[in-house]
Amino acid sequence: MSMTMLMITIGVPMFSYDFMRTAFVAGGVVAVLSGVVGFFLVLRGQTFAGHALSHVGFTGATGAVLFGLPPLWGLVGFTVLAGFIMGLLGEKLSGRDVAIGMMLSMALGLGLLFLHFYTAYASQAAALLFGNVLGVSDAALWTLVALTVLSLGALAFISRPLLFLSLQPELAEAKGVPARFVATAFLVIVAIAVAECAQIVGVLLVFTLMVGPAAAAQRLTTHVGNGVALAMAFALVEAWGGLALAYATDWPTSFWITALSALIYFAALAQEPVLRWRRGPIKV
């Protein structure tokens, strides 16, 4: 069967479903934001912050559900607040892994308690922890689109000082870059990306869309612009590929996204020695 035939036999029926079309748009919108934000997150060595924010988001989402609000609002509200606080604390947080770990465990525990009071316990928990891209409502889709546009705009605005600050913090400060403001604004943007990501792959698997594509991209190019574009492209391939594979196999979308993310990352790792060899020997 040719590729075209395959695309027609799977693609046409797949896109005849409303929820599949919504899922593709939602997945695409979130992947673009995750790829770009993740690029800076990996560059700054702050992947742990992304992880931490997703745990806090779980508390927010379950709390929102308990009060009859859309979980996305709780997710965004809590992660943004936590991102803002983390930005203000800045350096004070570094090296306090145990204290942070305890807070995160407590955040998950609180989320569990909120779920306990909620009746549709199991399905809601699974959706929050492992994502439910096929269950994205029209209202949620518009929220995702609006948040993505807003976040990308904000990131574009701070991207020059953010890049400078990430590569040369002392020099950037000396040149007048408002370091605390830029770092805090970035963490708020990360918080929004994490909240969006949790909608697609769940709070436990945020790493797969935020960090995987960006880390693979940084292995493959030495240029900033190419790196951002590649991270975005990988995230898109993973999100859409995951959806298509889930449709074809009936296995969970999040599983396929994690599988593709790991595949691309480890392929990038394996590719690197080849690239280096072709560039010629390393001078020491």
Binding site: F164, L167, L171
Partner: protein, 284 residues
């Protein structure tokens, strides 16, 4: 116009007096070697000149203006840290991150800024480093990139914080020569902090010695003498001149093995212990 002038400058950090009532004037185009034991305030003085730490009292003028962040006439090369070894961007992209200064928006450079990056790389002979990723460079090559980054904007005053640390003696003299040549060619003043005086001896116009919160600025013959340094530190200090080299030592510490290591390379029982201390000739 003086490059740097301090009048009764005091800086307190965390309740400790780092600089107290320091007076000094560094002229335009002068090459100053800054020495002093760890914690004597070398980095603090640089950060004060950059406007990054507030003064307790006194007046600090830089290129005729009060010290403030973002003075375009001041170039700065922070002390290199290990984190550069993980950056996979090319040398060009790394240097270019600083070219836009503190401006907002996307990290795009216009034609003039791109030429500036090329120029800065050429000035330190790093044109061929431009395409290679930082992660694959040696310490000396990264040091040259940092130096070229400090040249962006064609400063009138260059602050170099320990540019010789972690370099072997041959590369140390290479860095000193480049800075000396550029200072003459481009006519900027240099404040060059170091642990050891000897690599700088033939390049500097004057030496600035920090200790006990005080500063001593003058020619090598004026400043590097037993009585002058003993007064500065309030402790017995001896200065030994040996074959065009100068060794500074605190009363009881024997400097002999240092001389041996440099002069004839003899191995002896102190070698191992000494390796950890080789960067310091002030044994206080």
């Amino acid at each position: 116009m003086t490059a740097i002038s301090c009048e009764k400058v005091s800086v307190t950090l965390g309740g400790r007096d780092i600089l107290s009532l320091v007076d000094l004037a560094i002229e335009e185009g002068e090459f100053i070697g800054m020495l002093g034991s760890n914690g004597s305030g070398k980095t603090t003085l640089m950060r004060a000149i950059l406007g990054l730490v507030p003064l307790q009292s006194g007046v600090l003028r830089v290129l005729g203006q009060p010290a403030t962040r973002g003075n375009p006439g001041v170039g700065y090369m922070p002390q290199a840290r290990g984190n550069l070894a993980h950056i996979r961007f090319s040398g060009w992209d790394y240097v270019a991150a600083a070219a836009g200064g503190k401006g907002w928006g996307l990290p795009r450079l216009d034609a003039a800024q791109k030429r500036d990056v090329d120029w800065a790389l050429d000035m330190v002979g790093a044109g061929e480093l431009a395409r290679r990723p930082l992660a694959e460079m040696s310490g000396g090559e990264r040091q040259r990139l940092l130096l070229s980054q400090a040249l962006l904007g064609r400063p009138k005053l260059l602050l170099l914080d320990e540019p010789l640390s972690n370099l072997d003696p041959r590369r140390q003299s290479g860095v000193v020569e480049i800075v000396r040549r550029l200072s003459k060619e481009l006519g900027f003043a240099v404040l060059f902090s170091a642990h050891e005086l000897n690599p700088l001896l033939n390049a500097i116009d004057r030496v600035l010695y920090l200790g006990g919160g005080k500063a001593l600025l003058g020619s090598v013959d004026e400043v590097i003498t037993g009585p002058a340094l003993s007064r500065l530190y309030g402790a017995e200090i001896d200065v030994v001149r040996l074959g065009g080299r100068i060794f500074v030592m605190a009363g009881e510490v024997d400097v002999e093995h240092d001389a041996h290591r440099h002069e004839d390379g003899h191995a002896h029982e102190h070698d191992h212990a000494h390796d950890h201390d080789r960067s310091s000739d002030v044994l206080l």
